[in-house]
Symmetry: C2
Subunit: 133 residues, 2 copies
DNA sequence: CGGAATCCAGGTTGATACTG
DNA sequence: CAGTATCAACCTGGATTCCG
């Protein structure tokens, strides 16, 4: 018996974020980026129009929100539903994959929000120790 | 019965990453930032020296790794253990909080690595639909 | 080895203005 | 409303050099 060789791919390519060239690293960055994580988190509350999303994500500019949404839509994390009405109405919502991602992200966010006292204490300790080097 | 009022803070301040000025947003960015997530992920495999960490996180420069580690140390996510030997030896490891964070991050990373086929397919669909607008 | 400091190019950001 | 275009300003990140 020879090494089995089929005409179709026998094994899915391994994806590893720790490797510089792996496309999974890009997606991780889209999802965890400065506005990516907040946008996904905001969409977790339900479908949302562009400007409402802007309000939920305090501080994001139109441009950044637009760019972020496009990257997330391209990766299949967010679904964009445009209605050809006038004035235009566009709704964004998470895809099934997006909901899974959002869940894990929310878990991280909640952990951090709940640990901020501890973080703030650590910062003070660090600053008095190293700040006044 | 009156509303209970004690002399010490009755309620911990609410932390909300979606609010522009909340310090939790900074910590989220340290943890999910371009190198933050990979550094924390790499430290999950165990304590590690500076240059070994550089090898684990493919593509980081000394400067970025150094900056990233300092931010994470300040937030109490990473512990730095320096030995005053010559040559110097410094070990980094996750704190208990860091391990919790790393766990949630790993969960997200694994999800994404396992979904990349789907993501790549979504990208192709997007590019053929919108790319040739 | 483990960093800190400096320099600098280029990418990212966010007003502002404009379009459909 | 839902974006896109433009542009200056800022910041990121890499390379290099030097120190303990």
């Amino acid at each position: 018996m020879e090494t089995p060789v089929s005409t179709e791919a026998v094994e899915p390519p391994p994806f590893d974020v720790f490797a510089r060239a792996c496309p999974s690293r890009e997606t991780l960055e889209h999802v965890t980026g400065r506005w990516g994580s907040l946008t996904v988190g905001a969409l977790r509350e339900g479908p949302c129009r562009f400007n409402e999303l802007r309000r939920r994500v305090d501080g994001v500019s139109e441009k950044m929100l637009s760019q972020t949404l496009q990257a997330l839509e391209r990766d299949g994390i967010v679904h964009r539903e445009a209605q050809p009405t006038n004035p235009p109405r566009v709704d964004y919502e998470l895809t099934p994959l997006g909901r899974e991602v959002a869940g894990r992200l929310a878990s991280l966010i909640h952990l951090l929000e709940g640990s901020m006292e501890q973080v703030l204490t650590a910062r003070q300790a660090y600053d008095t120790t190293r700040g006044s080097r």
